[in-house]
C-alpha cells in the first residue's frame, strides 16, 4: 500500500466576493449581494438571510477610514461563512465584543455587536495583506440519522487503517452512532462527510478482512497549529483485539500528521484513554460535575520558547512548565501599547451551553473587558465558560487577571513552543 503526502484542502468552488466602501450607504448593497449570492450558490434561504443581515450590520458599522471592505461567501458545506475583510489595521474591534454593548453610545458599534450575535461562531484572522478578516459562521442543521444495525461478527483489524472513501466513512459513523461510540464528532454521517470534504475533519478507519469498518479516529483543526483528536470509535468488543485496534488507529493518525504543519494533538473530551500515548496537561470540569483530564500528544520536538505570563498566573504556569519538563523563558509581559479598546471574541456552543473566549485585541483595559465578558455569558445562562490565551502573545497575558477575578482558573497548559495555550475554565 502506498501513502501520498497530504495535499492542502482546496476550496470546493470559486467563491462569490465583492468589495464595497464602508458605511451605511452601501450596507444594503452588501446585504443584497450576500442574499443573492447565497441563494445562487444553493445555501439554505434561512442561513443566507442571516448572513445578509450580518453583512448589513458590519458594513453599516465600518468607520469611513476602514477602506474598501471585502465580502466573500464561503460554502463550508457543514457551515456557511461570510468573510469580511478589512484592509486597514486600525479597525476598532470593540464593537464585536459582546460585553460592551451596554456602554455603547453610537450605533456603529452596536451594528458590529449585533453581527457577532447573529453568528454561531466568530473567528478573526489577520488578512493576507495586513488588516483583518472577520469570519461569521452559521452551522447547517442535519436531520438525525436513522438508526443503523451493526453486524454481529466484525472481524479483527486487517492491514493498516486507511484514509477511507466516503461510503466507508459514512458506514463507520452510522455504526458508531448506533452503538454510542466515539463521542459527538462521530454523529451523523452527512455532516462528517461535509466536514471532511472542506478540510475541517480528517479520518483514519480500520477495516476487517472483509473491508468493513471496525473502528475510526478523527482529528479537526484546533487553533492554528494543533488538531483536536476525537475517538477512537471502536466497534469490537472488549479485549485484546479492541486494544490493538485503538493503538493502530492512533498510530495511523500520528503517521498521517507527521512532517506536516500540526504541532500536536489535543483531546479535550477523552472518549477513551489510550494509555501511554498521551500526557495529561490539565483537567477540565465536566458538564455533569467531576473532572476529566485534558490530553496532549506533541508531534514535534519542543525546542523551548517564551511564555508571557501575568503575575497572578506565574506560580501556576511555572509549576506546570516544571511538571511537563518544558523549556520556557517565563516573562512578565510589557504593558499593552493601547490604553483602551481591548476586545475578546466569543465562540458559543449553545447546545452544550458552553462559551470559549479568546483575546481579540489587547489594551490596558483587558482585565476589565475579560471580567465583563464572563459576567455577560454567565448572565445569559452559559454553564461552561472557558478562555484560551496564547502565552506566546504578550498581549494576551493582560486578560488573565480579569478572567481569574471573574472566577475562572487555569485548567490546562497545552504545550506549543511558538505559544503555549493556556486553557482557563469556570470552576476548574
Amino acid at each position: 500500500m502506498m501513502q501520498r503526502a497530504a495535499a492542502p484542502a482546496e476550496p470546493v468552488t470559486e467563491e462569490p466576493a465583492l468589495r464595497l466602501p464602508p458605511g451605511p450607504r452601501f450596507a444594503a448593497v452588501g446585504a443584497e449581494f450576500v442574499r443573492g449570492a447565497g441563494l445562487a450558490s444553493g445555501i439554505e434561504p434561512r442561513l443566507a438571510e442571516r448572513l445578509a443581515l450580518i453583512a448589513e450590520e458590519v458594513l453599516a458599522a465600518a468607520p469611513p477610514q476602514a477602506g474598501l471592505v471585502g465580502l466573500a461567501l464561503r460554502d463550508r458545506r457543514h457551515a456557511v461563512r461570510l468573510d469580511v475583510e478589512f484592509t486597514s489595521t486600525e479597525l476598532d474591534l470593540a464593537g464585536l465584543d459582546q460585553s460592551r454593548v451596554r456602554d455603547l453610545e453610537d450605533g456603529e458599534d452596536v451594528g458590529l455587536y449585533l453581527a457577532a450575535r447573529l453568528a454561531d461562531r466568530l473567528t478573526t484572522e489577520p488578512a493576507r495583506r495586513g488588516g483583518l478578516v472577520l469570519g461569521f459562521e452559521l452551522a447547517r442543521s442535519y436531520p438525525p440519522a436513522p438508526s443503523a444495525s451493526v453486524p454481529e461478527a466484525l472481524g479483527p483489524l486487517a492491514g493498516l487503517p486507511v484514509d477511507p472513501d466516503d461510503a466507508t466513512l459514512a458506514l463507520l459513523v452510522d455504526w458508531a452512532e448506533a452503538v454510542g461510540e466515539g463521542g459527538p464528532a462521530f454523529r451523523t454521517a452527512p455532516r462528517v462527510l461535509d466536514q471532511r470534504r472542506v478540510g475541517d475533519l480528517f479520518a483514519r478507519v480500520a477495516l476487517d478482512a472483509r473491508r468493513r469498518p471496525v473502528g475510526g479516529i478523527f482529528w479537526q483543526p484546533f487553533g492554528r497549529r494543533l488538531m483536536a483528536l476525537s475517538g477512537p470509535a471502536l466497534l469490537l468488543p472488549e479485549g485484546d483485539a479492541r486494544q490493538a485496534l485503538a493503538a493502530a488507529l492512533l498510530e495511523a493518525a500520528l503517521a498521517a500528521l507527521a512532517r506536516g504543519a500540526t504541532q500536536g494533538l489535543v483531546v479535550l473530551e477523552p472518549a477513551q484513554v489510550l494509555p501511554g500515548a498521551f500526557e495529561v496537561v490539565g483537567h477540565l470540569p465536566g458538564a455533569a460535575g467531576g473532572q476529566h483530564p485534558v490530553l496532549f500528544r506533541a508531534m514535534e520536538e519542543d525546542p523551548g520558547g517564551i511564555a508571557w505570563v501575568s503575575p497572578g498566573l506565574s506560580a501556576w504556569v511555572t509549576a506546570m512548565v516544571r511538571r511537563l519538563g518544558l523549556g520556557r523563558d517565563i516573562e512578565a509581559p510589557p504593558p499593552p501599547a493601547r490604553a483602551l479598546g481591548a476586545a475578546m471574541a466569543a465562540e458559543t456552543d449553545r447546545a452544550a451551553a458552553r462559551v470559549t473566549l479568546r483575546p481579540l485585541l489587547a489594551a490596558g483595559d483587558a482585565a476589565a473587558v475579560a471580567e465583563r465578558n464572563v459576567a455577560l455569558f454567565r448572565g445569559q445562562g452559559f454553564a461552561q465558560i472557558r478562555a484560551l490565551l496564547d502565552l506566546g502573545q504578550p498581549g494576551h497575558a493582560a486578560f488573565a487577571e480579569g478572567l481569574m477575578r471573574a472566577g475562572l482558573a487555569p485548567a490546562a497548559l497545552i504545550p506549543d513552543a511558538a505559544g503555549d495555550l493556556l486553557l482557563l475554565a469556570d470552576g476548574a
Partner: protein
C-alpha cells in the same frame, strides 16, 4: 506600496509547505531548559571528531584567506575521491552537505507533474525537497523496518523520475546488501534515476554491503550520495558529495551550485581521504556504545532497533516527545521519532562514553517518573 499580494507570487506548493525550524543554539537551549551542559545525541555526529590530518589542515589555515573565494567545483577533492573510488573526476559533484546534493538531483530530473519515490520512514529531506519543489513525494511504507524493494518496484510508474533509497536507512539502520541492490537496479531497468544515499556507508563492517561504485558501471541510472558529516566528523563545515555515471553527472552539474562548498571544508575533506585508522576507531567506538545501549535497553525492557550506523532507536513506553523534553531538562539531547513516523521511538546517536552514560542515567530517571 499599494498592493503587494505576496500570496499571488508564491506557488501553491511553497505556500502549503511548512518551513523546517531547526533547534535553537545551545546557549538558548541551556537557558530554557535550565541546565548547564547538553550532551548532543540527536544529530548522529562523530564524537571522535575529524581525523588527525583534517585537524592539522584546519589548524594551519590563515584567517586572511577567508577573503578569497574557494576554487569553484572542488577540483582537487574530486580528483582525490575519484582516484580512491576508481572514478573519473567528472563523475564526482560536491555539495554543501549531502543535503544540497539532493536538491541538485531533484532539480535536474523533475518537473511539476513528476513524482519521486522513497520510504515513509526515512531521512526527511528527499520528501521535503520534492514537496517544496512542486514534485509529489510518493512514500512506500517500510516493511519490517526496512526498505521494501517489491513495494517500491510496484510503485514506479511513468512519471517517477527518482527513487531515493537510504542505505543504511536513517533511522532504522536497516540495509540492502550488494545482491539485493543489484537485483533492484536490474528490475528498475533504467526507468528512473536510483539514488542510494550512503551517508552512513563508512560505518558498515558487514562484507555484503554494496559496492555501489561498481554497480554504477553496469547501471548508469545509479547515483550515490556520501557525506563528510558522519564518519568524517566534518558536520560543522557542511560538505557532501555524489557520484554518478558520466552522462548523468554531466546533467546534474548543470543544476549544481558552483562555489557552494567553502575553503576549509574542501581542504579538510581532502585530508580525510581515506583514513582507515579513523574508520576503524570510529567503528570500534560504535560497537562499544551499541553494546552498552543494548544492555540498557535490556535492563529497562525496551525494544531496540538498529543495524549499520552510529545510532539506534529505542521504543519508549510513553510518548517520545515527552521523553525528549524530559531528557533535555536533564541535559541530554536525543531525537524524538514521531516526526519520522516512528511514534513512540527515540533515536540516540553513539556519542562519547560520558554522554552515553548521562543518557542512560537520564533515561532511567525519566522512565521512572512514568
Amino acid at each position: 506600496m499599494k498592493a503587494f499580494a505576496l500570496e499571488r507570487l508564491v506557488p501553491a506548493h511553497v505556500r502549503a509547505f511548512e518551513a523546517y525550524v531547526p533547534a535553537p543554539p545551545d546557549d538558548v537551549l541551556l537557558r530554557r531548559f535550565g541546565v548547564t551542559h547538553l550532551h548532543r545525541l540527536n544529530n548522529n555526529e562523530n564524537p571522535l571528531g575529524p581525523p588527525p590530518a583534517a585537524r592539522a589542515v584546519l589548524a594551519r589555515r590563515d584567517a586572511g584567506e577567508a577573503a578569497l573565494y574557494p576554487q569553484g567545483d572542488g577540483w582537487h577533492l574530486r580528483r582525490t575521491l575519484a582516484r580512491h573510488f576508481d572514478l573519473e573526476p567528472e563523475q564526482v559533484i560536491l555539495g554543501n552537505g549531502a543535503s544540497e546534493v539532493i536538491a541538485f538531483v531533484i532539480k535536474t530530473f523533475c518537473e511539476p507533474g513528476d513524482n519521486i519515490l522513497t520510504a515513509d520512514r526515512t531521512f526527511a529531506v528527499y520528501e521535503w525537497m520534492a514537496s517544496f519543489s512542486g514534485i509529489e513525494p510518493r512514500l512506500v511504507p517500510l516493511l519490517d523496518h526496512g526498505f521494501d524493494d517489491v513495494g517500491m518496484l510496484r510503485a514506479i510508474e511513468g512519471r517517477t523520475r527518482v527513487v531515493f533509497l537510504c542505505n543504511p536507512n536513517n533511522p532504522t539502520g536497516s540495509w540492502w546488501d550488494h545482491a539485493r541492490l543489484a537485483r533492484f537496479l536490474a528490475a528498475v531497468d533504467g526507468r528512473a534515476i536510483v539514488v542510494v544515499d550512503e551517508a552512513y556507508a563508512e560505518f558498515a563492517e558487514a562484507p555484503g554491503f554494496p559496492d555501489s561504485f561498481a554497480l554504477m558501471r553496469q547501471h548508469p541510472n545509479l547515483v550515490v550520495f556520501r557525506s563528510f558529516s558522519k564518519m568524517w566528523g566534518l558536520a560543522g563545515l557542511r560538505i557532501g558529495w555524489m557520484a554518478a555515471s558520466p552522462p548523468v553527472a554531466a546533467m546534474v552539474r548543470k543544476t549544481s551550485i558552483s562555489y557552494s562548498v567553502n575553503l576549509l571544508a574542501l581542504e579538510a575533506a581532502r585530508a580525510t581521504v581515506w583514513d582507515l585508522a579513523h574508520i576503524a576507531a570510529t567503528q570500534a567506538h560504535c560497537r562499544a556504545m551499541r553494546a552498552g545501549l543494548a544492555a540498557l535497553a535490556g535492563r529497562l525492557g525496551l525494544e531496540m532497533l538498529g543495524g549499520i550506523g552510529n545510532f539506534a532507536m529505542l521504543r519508549m513506553p510513553i510518548p517520545d516527545t515527552v521523553v525528549h523534553r524530559r531528557l533535555m531538562a536533564r541535559g541530554v539531547m536525543a531525537r524524538a521519532m514521531t516526526s519520522f513516523r516512528y511514534a513512540g521511538w527515540l533515536r540516540v546517536s553513539f556519542g562519547d562514553a560520558e554522554a552515553m552514560a548521562a543518557f542512560a542515567a537520564a533515561l532511567e530517571a525519566v522512565l521512572a517518573e512514568g
